[in-house]
């Protein structure tokens, strides 16, 4: 059976009045008798009315309409789609952790708190930072925490004019969006032809209003910023701080540490580097690490160890904290998964992550370049990911990066990231990760070889792709113009 070629009705269309999944229902008692009439719900919500089997079958069939790491190679650049070990999930879902109320006494949560404290310590070790808070709930919230700490630092020194954040134009969109959310102005600077930061542009942008710079290293262009020490010295001399976007930490884990490069604050995407699941778009976890001078500003809570006991640090421990970012402790269950992952990898495993991610990326780059795919930064080493540009294909055959991406889906590979970074025309950003084996990498190369041939000989195979999925290309313009954002009963 070709499970991907199917259609599944919206669950509301499976409903029949008064049908229930009765086994899970609790007995009817008093129908909310104590609620005064004016506060009672007047009309029942139209939620699905289905049997348990209908629900299980419906959602199982929906799951079969997804690509995932467990079913396909997923070389989505900048997202680090590596294997999510099952043991991490299983152990994070042990009843003792799962049933723990976030406000339960610390004395009855030493097992959990111990794991989280050790996770903080391991993250300090691999990043070279002095203190870590696990509380941000995603990468974007980690970025927010980082820039908010930079602002708080300058304010605490009475340095009130520093409200500009410098961002290379290749940066992820969250960087400028974060700077705006923190009330900063964004100054974008270009990169040079080799993918490094343009130092002259940086010098021109720096000044008494510079709060800091946000950098990803290796950058979103898939190359290591070779003059990072010059960048650091320029920014520090101008009174600014350096923010490390941990999107690409997988590329350097155990090889070089952001703290040693001179960064003052970093966020890590535990859902990338430390292999917690992406879950169809979340939850993530965006732990932040800081140099000593920013430690007083860390978001709360974080775990402290006093003697043999662990406890949450609160407002009274960190009176200068940028505050709380979640109702409780951040995505604790995600942090537990990252903890298990790091314990299984251990000291030696950290370095292997970067080594084999980099080996896989450089291998793919070499193979694809040999086939005629054009690297965007020829002569540079790939980091854990690399960019190819399809501008020649577009010129010669009117084939776009999107066409190649969609055709790859037909071959059973998730598409690379397309049209990011924005400054490379018709680009594919490819990140295989360290957990892919040679046969599967070679399979991807063969598919891309076949696609090149199709581009020359039968381009409609690309321009009309995908052909073998539940749907063909979707009408995004119609989706935005004729908004249909929820099921409604037939009129």
């Amino acid at each position: 059976m070709k499970s991907l070629a199917m259609h599944e009705p919206v669950i509301f269309d499976l409903s029949r009045e008064q049908r229930t999944a009765a086994a899970q229902h609790v007995p009817a008692l008093a129908a909310g008798a104590q609620i005064p009439a004016p506060l009672r719900r007047a009309r029942r919500p139209r939620l699905p009315e289905v049997s348990e089997l209908q629900a299980v079958r419906h959602f199982t069939r929906l799951s079969q309409m997804n690509f995932s790491i467990d079913t396909q190679l997923y070389p989505l650049g900048s997202c680090t789609m590596k294997y999510n070990p099952r043991i991490c999930n299983q152990l994070a879902m042990l009843p003792g952790f799962l049933q723990r109320h976030p406000l339960a006494p610390e004395s009855a949560g030493q097992g959990l708190l111990g794991c989280l404290h050790e996770l903080q310590e391991m993250l300090k070790a691999v990043t070279g930072m002095r203190a870590v808070s696990l509380t941000p709930m995603a990468g974007a919230q980690g970025e927010f925490a980082g820039v908010a700490m930079i602002r708080a630092y300058h304010r605490a020194r009475g340095d009130l004019a520093r409200d500009e954040i410098i961002v290379p134009e290749a940066a992820h969109g969250t960087n400028p969006a974060t700077a705006s959310m923190c009330g900063c102005k964004v100054r974008e600077i270009p990169c040079d032809a080799n993918g490094d930061v343009d130092l002259d542009a940086l010098r021109a942008a720096l000044g008494p209003r510079t709060a800091g710079i946000m950098l990803t290293n290796p950058s979103t262009l898939g190359v290591f910023e070779r003059r990072i020490e010059q960048v650091r010295d320029l920014v520090h001399t101008a009174g600014g701080l350096l923010y490390y976007d941990g999107a690409n930490l997988n590329a350097i884990l155990g090889k070089v540490r952001p703290g040693d490069m001179g960064f003052d604050v970093i966020h890590m995407n535990l859902h990338k580097t430390f292999s917690t699941p992406h879950g169809g778009g979340g939850p993530g976890s965006g732990a932040v690490g800081v140099a000593q001078r920013l430690a007083p500003f860390l978001p709360i809570p974080l775990v402290l160890k006093q003697g043999d006991a662990y406890r949450w640090a609160e407002e009274r421990d960190l009176p200068q904290s940028i505050g709380r970012l979640s109702a409780f402790m951040g995505n604790t269950g995600v942090n537990l998964r990252a903890y298990v992952y790091m314990r299984v990898l251990g000291r030696e495993g950290m370095r292997r992550v970067a080594e084999f991610a980099t080996l896989n990326a450089n291998y793919l780059l070499a193979r694809l370049a040999a086939l005629g795919y054009e690297p965007a930064y020829r002569g540079r080493r790939a980091s854990h990911e690399f960019i190819i540009t399809l501008k020649r294909l577009q010129r010669e055959f009117q084939i776009t990066a999107m066409d190649v991406a969609k055709r790859l889906l037909d071959y059973g590979y998730h598409a690379p990231t397309t049209y990011f970074p924005l400054l490379v025309p018709e680009c594919l950003l490819i990140e295989p990760t360290e957990t892919e084996c040679l046969q599967d990498l070679d399979g991807l190369v063969s598919a891309l070889e076949q696609i090149l041939r199709e581009a020359r000989e039968e381009p409609s195979l690309l321009t009309e792709a995908p052909h073998s999925l539940p749907v063909k290309r979707l009408d995004d313009v119609r989706a935005a113009r004729q908004l249909d954002l929820r099921w409604k009963p037939p009129a």
Binding site: G32, A125, V186
Partner: protein, 454 residues
């Protein structure tokens, strides 16, 4: 090598293809003096067996107490299919559905989730979820400032009956953009906001936040509050408990016109307590404000051959398109938790959710009655309640709770730090998970703790 599949032959062949002599050579663009030495602070690797032994011990050490704490996170029964579905690899290990054709499962599920949340709150549209309830309120406040075209103000009224931690989070997140928050005091006798207290607040705010049930578990007069705010040009931001909406009037129908933005903590819908997360925040609003809403939104459309399909839409609001001018920096939703919530709501239906809500209400009322029968315990407020009650003890709460914890009972949340004016106040919660025996045990242990101290 855990999770690394390479054989020695693989490595040699790959290096040959690259033209490199060693893996180390691939890192030759990194200045040599910056390279990391041994990571002494990271322990040596454990096998799966060893790490399972360690984690089982630690989880067991934390397990076993009978919990009566709510205060924003609620223990509910989670039907077996919920996490069996959510942890299927095809949901668990997929990413944000950027490639719509290869993500129809996740996309259709989110569309169904949006439909359920819009129904539950009686609003027009929902986003695909935010991080948690507190951050959803922060995003709602920022959205209200963008959406309210009648009032040009960065001030928002937040009654003290709103979860105080939410207010803290909202200040952390939205304060950097110049928003300020005026608190409004509550009625000491009834534990709810009154129109008199609102009238005393400075005029000209952009929005009023109303939490229902409020942080004390009491039910606010939401219709009158909503109409009061609308008469003054404010938007109404409702913070609601999704379970309670099976019984309580939906925010879309509060007062004459209904709330404008609805948000809250989605955790009660099938997400385990899990020490504080991951949970999800939900947000719904009116059609008129949809372009001001932050976060992912899924729409139904058609494909090139006219068949229905689903895709991320209205992306022009988002950071990857608008960068510094986006509605928010948020980049994901809480997909996995939304998956759990969608399965949960499908299994419950409106009738099942009503029973859960009613069972919570009855359990809390029975618990409150049993506890207030003890000498030195009384209700703090005279108001209708849902599944939490604020109680007053005749002595400091913390030592009593510590004694209960030693006996394996988490007896509630001590309100005295956040509401010192109340004296020795304790917030207790009982849900459908608590049997009559559990409630009796709570009362017996509290009696014992109070007698021991006497």
């Amino acid at each position: 090598m855990p999770y690394i599949p390479h054989t020695a032959d693989d490595i040699a062949g790959m290096l040959r293809a690259i033209g490199a002599g060693s893996i180390e050579e691939l890192f030759d663009e990194i200045p040599a003096h910056l390279k990391t030495g041994a990571l002494e602070a990271v322990p040596a690797a454990l096998s799966e067996l060893e790490v399972a032994r360690l984690m089982n011990q630690r989880a067991a050490a934390d397990a076993g107490a009978l919990n009566f704490i709510g205060a924003g996170a609620y223990e509910h029964y989670i039907p077996a299919p919920v996490w069996a579905i959510a942890t299927r690899g095809e949901f668990y290990s997929a990413y944000t559905p950027y490639q719509a054709e290869a993500s129809q499962g996740t996309l259709q599920l989110i569309y169904e989730y949006q439909s359920m949340m819009a129904e539950l709150t009686a609003m027009d549209v929902s986003n695909a979820s935010l991080y948690d309830g507190a951050s959803a309120l922060a995003e709602s406040c920022l959205m209200a400032v963008r959406a309210n075209r009648n009032v040009d103000s960065l001030r928002i009224l937040v009654p003290r009956t709103v979860n105080p931690t939410y207010l803290h989070v909202v200040r952390s997140i939205a304060g950097n953009q110049g928003l300020c928050f005026d608190t409004v005091d509550y009625d000491r006798r009834r534990g709810v906001i009154t129109l008199d207290a609102l009238a005393a607040a400075a005029p000209g705010a952009t929005a009023l936040v109303i939490q229902q049930p409020n942080f004390f578990g009491n039910l606010e007069d939401v219709g009158a509050l909503t109409d009061w705010a609308h008469a003054r040009g404010m938007l109404v931001i409702a913070v609601v408990n999704p379970t309670s909406l099976a019984l309580l009037e939906a925010p879309g129908r509060w007062g004459t016109a209904g709330a404008d933005i609805v948000c809250g903590e989605g955790q009660p819908l099938g997400c385990p307590l899990s020490g504080g997360g991951p949970y999800f925040g939900f947000m719904t609003t009116r059609q008129a404000h949809v372009r001001q809403m932050p976060g992912r939104i899924v729409g139904r459309t058609v494909d090139a051959s006219g068949r229905p399909g689903f895709t991320l839409t209205l992306q022009a609001r988002e950071q990857h398109i608008r960068r510094g001018k986006a509605t928010s920096n948020i980049c994901t939703n809480q997909g996995l938790l939304v998956t759990a919530a969608s399965v949960y709501l499908s299994l419950m239906g409106a009738a099942g959710l009503e029973r859960v809500a009613d069972a919570c209400l009855q359990a809390n009322h029975a618990l409150t009655q049993a506890l207030c029968d003890l000498p030195g315990v009384r209700l703090a407020f005279d108001a209708p309640r849902f599944h939490e009650s604020a109680l007053l003890l005749d002595r400091p709460v913390a030592p009593v709770l510590a004694r209960l914890a030693q006996r394996g009972v988490f007896g509630g949340w001590d309100l005295s730090a956040q509401y010192p004016e109340l004296g020795h106040a304790l917030l207790v919660c009982a849900t459908e998970t608590k049997s009559a025996e559990d409630l009796a045990r709570c009362a017996a242990e509290l009696r014992g703790a109070l007698e021991t101290a006497r």
